[in-house]
């Protein structure tokens, strides 16, 4: 009994936080989602009105499409690139710690500064990227103002910050027992076969975890798009960039809640995000039984 009390005492900061900042808000936002609520007056119950309003809202669908597009492109691009870099770093090369530092540095730079830097690099007229493309005689697109290119530009920006995934993959590669490779090469397996049969299965739990975190983070994509959009020169009167091509789900939710004070509608969006994030995570977990192996080399 005394153990239970001590345990409870030690865990109390988390328990209080969980109840006040997670569990209650989860319930409350479901309730607010069913109300007409503008902060200044108390919430008025309207049933599913917010949800049906969202279904008819073009900007809502635009933000859903933008966010899913970014998630679907950015997640595999980041993971595959990181894995390739980690594999190269794992070839017992000289200067490993140098490379590791260089790849890691961009991830510690605050997203605010990263966004500013890339806005400048991708500046159509005076940017470094187009200056280099011009030198090579290639077309110099307007990266952040052409609605067809804005999201690709965000993906490119994101690639600059994958250093921590590279390091995580590298650390897990280094834990794969060498003996496994040795016995495989005795059995005559080539480099590609041992990658498929030994490396991938052994690090698959880590890939799974990174995959889920990438998806969850991309669904919440906010700061970079918000910064780019707030340079008013780029967006002609819209708050989501050129033709709202950078209107991310989290941005539209924020606009509804804190600019239009439509707390009910924003809460409905929060719950839709909750369900979507939950469903995607569940699907990944379910599929993972087929491609993630636990035990064995772990």
């Amino acid at each position: 009994m005394k153990k239970n009390l001590t345990g409870l005492a030690f865990a109390s900061p988390w328990i209080v936080g969980f109840l006040v900042f997670t569990l209650y808000p989860l319930g409350a936002s479901f309730y607010y989602g069913l109300t007409d609520f503008n902060v200044f007056q108390s919430p008025k119950f309207v049933g599913l009105d917010n949800y049906s309003e969202l279904m008819r809202d073009d900007l809502f669908w635009k933000s859903v499409r933008n966010t899913l597009y970014l998630t679907v492109i950015s997640t595999p691009v980041n993971l595959i690139f990181s894995l390739l870099m980690a594999l190269l770093l794992n070839r017992r090369i000289r200067g490993l710690s140098w490379y590791r530092t260089v790849y890691y540095i961009p991830t510690i730079i605050p997203l605010a500064a990263t966004s500013l830097l890339w806005m400048w690099i991708m500046n159509a007229q005076y940017g470094l990227l187009n200056a280099m493309l011009g030198r090579l005689g290639l077309p110099q697109p307007n990266w952040l103002a052409d609605p067809a290119l804005t999201k690709a530009s965000l993906v490119l920006m994101g690639l600059w910050g994958v250093g921590n995934i590279i390091i995580i993959f590298l650390a897990s590669l280094q834990e794969v027992p060498r003996s496994l490779y040795e016995s495989a090469s005795i059995d005559g397996a080539g480099a590609f076969r041992s990658f498929l049969n030994i490396t991938l299965p052994t690090i698959s739990p880590i890939i799974l975890f990174q995959l889920i975190m990438q998806v969850i983070n991309n669904l919440q994509y906010f700061t970079q798009a918000y910064f780019i959009v707030s340079s008013t020169n780029l967006n002609a009167g819209t708050s989501g960039g050129p033709e709202n091509s950078m209107l991310m789900y989290a941005m539209y939710l924020y606009h509804n809640a804190f600019q239009y004070f439509k707390m009910g509608k924003a809460s409905a969006m929060a719950w839709i995000l909750f369900v979507i994030a939950g469903a995607i995570t569940w699907l990944i977990f379910r599929s993972s039984k087929r491609w993630v192996s636990y035990g064995g080399g772990d």
């Binding site: 030690f10 997670t22 890691y104 605010a112 890339w118 400048w120 739990p205 700061t223 994030a277």
Partner: protein
């Protein structure tokens, strides 16, 4: 065979080097731009090195935004947040790894669940709680939650605490030490590397946070550096020399910490990623 391995190694180095240039290049570009004048930045062709090194971009930042004040504001929030996580996260982790009580088993799965919960899902009701308490507009809404142990740090510390031998804890208990004494005198000192990682990550996260301050702080005298940068961007869109200088000054504390504690960064990152 030997020459094939040589070319393979050569190719590996070439790729690593090219990617390395692509990763460090933009950062160097930030530094070079921060030293260029507005005229040079807005003329073609694009120059690599500044014609004239314009060092006073850095002093000019203090004229166009109250940089010192924003720096101070950000520092207060960051230091208190680091304290919050360092007090709460190890306590909670200790309770689920080293105390045998009924909560030990079911807290961790919930922690993992909340780790996957998008910020936006709870954002509005949490905002309304702080509004009811008349705390919006100040720093408390950013600081108070850090005293309730973030899931990521529980996750990170748990990896570390599970490696600490239970025999040490039993020995202390046999000597008559209370649970708190065991925690304070034995577990915490042994966990210094993991605690350093938690401190560094909290610093990094809080220092860089944009959405939190954007929600809660509306008076420009209370702005953090991220809010200050955003306001500056919205008003002075073309002054990239100043913007890059300000961004660098904003990033500098993190870079300094990184070079002093690189090992903890790398180890901490690995701790958060290993084992699903």
């Amino acid at each position: 065979m030997r020459s094939r391995i040589m070319t393979l190694n050569g190719a590996t180095h070439l790729i690593l080097l090219l990617v390395g240039i692509a990763f460090i290049g933009p950062f160097l570009w930030m530094i070079l731009t921060s030293l260029k004048s507005l005229e040079e930045i807005s003329s073609l062709p694009v120059t690599i090195l500044p014609d004239v090194f314009k060092w006073d971009n850095y002093t000019q930042v203090f004229d166009v935004i109250p940089f010192g004040r924003y720096f101070w504001n950000t520092l207060i929030i960051t230091v208190l947040s680091v304290a919050g996580q360092l007090i709460s996260a190890p306590m909670v982790t200790y309770s689920i790894t080293k105390i045998e009580w009924f909560g030990a088993k079911w807290i961790f799965p919930i922690v993992i669940g909340t780790m996957l919960l998008p910020y936006q899902v709870t954002m509005i009701p949490v905002y309304l709680i702080f509004q009811k308490l008349h705390l919006t507009g100040g720093y408390w809404p950013l600081i108070i939650p850090t005293f309730t142990a973030a899931p990521l740090y529980i996750f990170l510390l748990r990896q570390f605490f599970m490696q600490l031998p239970n025999s040490l804890i039993h020995a202390a208990k046999i000597d008559g030490a209370s649970e708190f004494r065991t925690y304070w005198n034995i577990v915490l000192p042994l966990s210094r590397p993991a605690l350093t990682s938690v401190g560094i990550f909290t610093f990094l996260y809080t220092w860089s946070d944009f959405l939190g301050p954007l929600l809660y702080i509306n008076n420009s005298s209370k702005y953090t550096l991220t809010l200050g940068l955003q306001a500056f961007l919205a008003e002075h869109y073309t002054e990239w020399g100043l913007l890059m200088a300000a961004s660098l000054m904003f990033t500098l504390p993190i870079v300094v910490i990184f070079f002093f504690a690189q090992k903890q960064f790398i180890e901490g990152i690995s701790l958060t990623g290993i084992k699903g």
